[in-house]
């Protein structure tokens, strides 16, 4: 964990040192403090959020493929943002992220309620309702796209590609506070979640209030993911990639996985954002592309070695 922590500090330092402009220009102070620093911190927070949400969902559902995307959290946010953009609500600053956040929370509540039967939440039903809701969200997004004007359409598409352009100190504080709260809740139920990973009946026989743990984990992970998606758009692969990477490389115990994933996700996104900013001068590339390009080869090599 020390090693990963050091890597995080190094990548943040690197990300602050490099950018579209040099460190020693006329307006360097303003650029670093008001533009680059919040952006790097937001990258770290969003990366940590997505990875933590991923590992939580995978543990809760006992399914290695679960992540915020498959469960419809991001889809709900995207759907809210797309509809809000299509009907012209982008004219009012701050409204689209708010609706995206509402969409994420709404989707989470819907998935959870749909999967619930007789006071029991079945992991398979949870996953299925997430998948089906995702299909529904895609349909609504497509419809709102085809009704949009060209300019609105481009705006919505860019948002969906994911970008940390909107990083401000307000966003950083917002996501930071929510992530801290979610981490506290998750740390509180981490022991129970670890037992849950061995099976529900097992956990129950050891005195775990399974339904309450599920609800707490699901709600905490979803709300903070909603906030992250609202400020950064859709950045893929982090929630899936990072937890598996950590598990393959180090530990499988949820209590250790949680902080390790947070740090790993932060590193991945900070480096990806750095590349998206500096790789091609005078423009910025979609960050989601880099999370996959960086993470997938690393992941595949670990997967081969672990056999």
């Amino acid at each position: 964990m020390l090693l990963l922590g050091a890597a995080l500090v190094a990548s943040v330092a690197l990300a602050i040192a490099f950018g579209a402009t040099s460190l020693f220009g006329e307006s360097a102070r303003l650029i670093i403090l008001q533009i680059r620093l919040p952006r790097v911190l937001l990258a770290a927070l969003v990366g940590a959020t997505l990875a933590v949400a991923g590992v939580t969902f995978q543990t809760l559902l006992r399914n290695p493929l679960a992540d915020p995307f498959i469960l419809g959290v991001s889809g709900g946010a995207a759907c809210g943002a797309a509809v809000a953009t299509a009907i012209g609500l982008w004219r009012f600053p701050g409204v689209v992220p708010l609706i995206a956040f509402a969409g994420a929370c709404g989707a989470t509540a819907a998935v959870f309620l749909l999967a619930r039967r007789r006071d029991h939440t079945d992991p398979t039903r949870l996953l299925l309702s997430g998948l089906v809701l995702n299909a529904f969200f895609s349909a609504v997004i497509l419809i709102s796209f085809s009704l949009s004007r060209q300019a609105d359409l481009t705006a919505a598409l860019r948002w969906m590609m994911g970008t940390l352009f909107g990083a401000t100190w307000t966003n950083v504080t917002l996501v930071g506070v929510l992530l801290a709260l979610a981490m506290i809740v998750l740390a509180y139920v981490a022991g129970d979640l670890r037992l849950l990973a061995f099976g529900e009946d097992d956990a129950k026989s050891r005195g775990v209030d399974v339904e309450r743990v599920k609800f707490a984990g699901f709600a905490a992970a979803s709300i903070v993911t909603g906030a992250a998606v609202a400020v950064s758009g859709i950045i893929g692969f982090v929630g899936l990639l990072v937890p598996h990477l950590i598990r393959l490389a180090w530990r499988r115990d949820f209590r250790f996985l949680l902080p390790l994933c947070a740090i790993g996700g932060a590193i991945l996104l900070v480096i990806s954002d750095l590349l998206s900013r500096v790789l091609i001068r005078s423009t910025e590339l979609p960050i989601g592309a880099f999370t996959a390009v960086l993470g997938v080869p690393f992941f595949l090599s670990l997967l081969r070695r672990s056999r």
């Binding site: 402009t21 303003l30 085809s146 860019r158 909107g166 005078s282 423009t283 910025e284």
Partner: protein, 286 residues
């Protein structure tokens, strides 16, 4: 077969033969082969700049339908609409055009084959850059046998030439088409052509319509920040500028329709920008 029917059949055959004779295959601006009747009586334009061009050529009476965004001249707004980004094939077919005119910029690869299947030719016109407009007008005028072809094309050439400026102090401009994330007009675009014509310097060095970083905005602040009125709101511009407090550009809104449509009003677009640049020159001390 009754006696009356034979001549009518022969007459129809003759008619078909005549029509076949009057067909010619030419190449459009994307070098696609297009088979057209010699005389075109009904056209559908599915790009607002082409609608403006056909009206300017004096062939507005041949337009049977337009796309949803064609709002100029006033007569165009009253014509039947065939859809926006995704034109409605049934609506197009019902208007029985001799040809559909599309612009290379908004052209969709699937549209040509779809129209071909219902025997309606698609002619794609390239007007992506300022210099291509008069030549495209001449080609279209020849195609439609328009009465004012030469006069209209020359008028555009003249109006553009009249706006050429060589400014001693080149104002640096930035045209924001979207603010969050920031998307701007780059080099080698129609919009940049107008900047060059008016003697302004685009602070953006990348080609096309790139995403632009706030850091670069601060490091190379523009003298004038331009934005399309309506497509971007003053509130969005305020929110953008609040994030780059050291940059204090003059903010000016431009008519989106005039400024982003490569058509006969390009001279008017350049004139509007020259007004803005002249005012900046007068009011900004050295």
């Amino acid at each position: 077969m009754s006696r009356g029917r034979v001549p009518r059949f022969l007459f129809l055959l003759l008619l078909v033969a005549c029509r076949e004779q009057r067909v010619a295959t030419i190449h459009d601006d994307l070098d696609r082969p297009v088979t057209l009747p010699k005389h075109i009586h009904r056209v559908i334009t599915i790009a607002p700049n082409l609608t403006e061009i056909v009206f300017a050529l004096g062939s507005g009476d041949k337009i049977a339908g337009v796309d949803d965004h064609s709002n100029f001249p006033a007569a165009a707004a009253k014509l039947p609409k065939v859809g926006g980004m995704q034109p409605n094939l049934e609506k197009i077919a019902s208007l029985k055009p001799d040809v559909v005119l599309a612009s290379s910029e908004g052209n969709q690869p699937a549209l040509g084959p779809a129209l071909e299947a219902i025997h309606i030719p698609l002619y794609v016109v390239r007007t992506d850059r300022i210099g291509e407009i008069p030549a495209a007008m001449e080609r279209l005028g020849a195609l439609l046998e328009s009465p004012r072809t030469q006069a209209a094309a020359d008028a555009v050439r003249k109006s553009v030439d009249a706006q050429r400026r060589n400014r001693a102090r080149k104002p640096r401009v930035l045209f924001a088409v979207w603010t969050d994330p920031l998307y701007v007009a780059g080099q080698n675009t129609f919009t940049n052509d107008i900047f060059q014509q008016c003697g302004a310097e685009n602070v953006v060095t990348a080609d096309g319509w790139p995403q632009y970083s706030l850091e670069t905005f601060v490091a190379h602040p523009p003298d004038i920040l331009l934005y399309p009125r309506g497509a971007v709101t003053p509130e969005q511009i305020d929110a953008l500028l609040a994030r780059v407090p050291s940059a204090k550009p003059r903010v000016e809104a431009l008519d989106e329709d005039v400024f982003q449509r490569p058509g006969p009003r390009v001279g008017a677009a350049a004139a509007a920008l020259n007004d803005i640049l002249d005012r900046w020159e007068r009011e900004t001390p050295h």
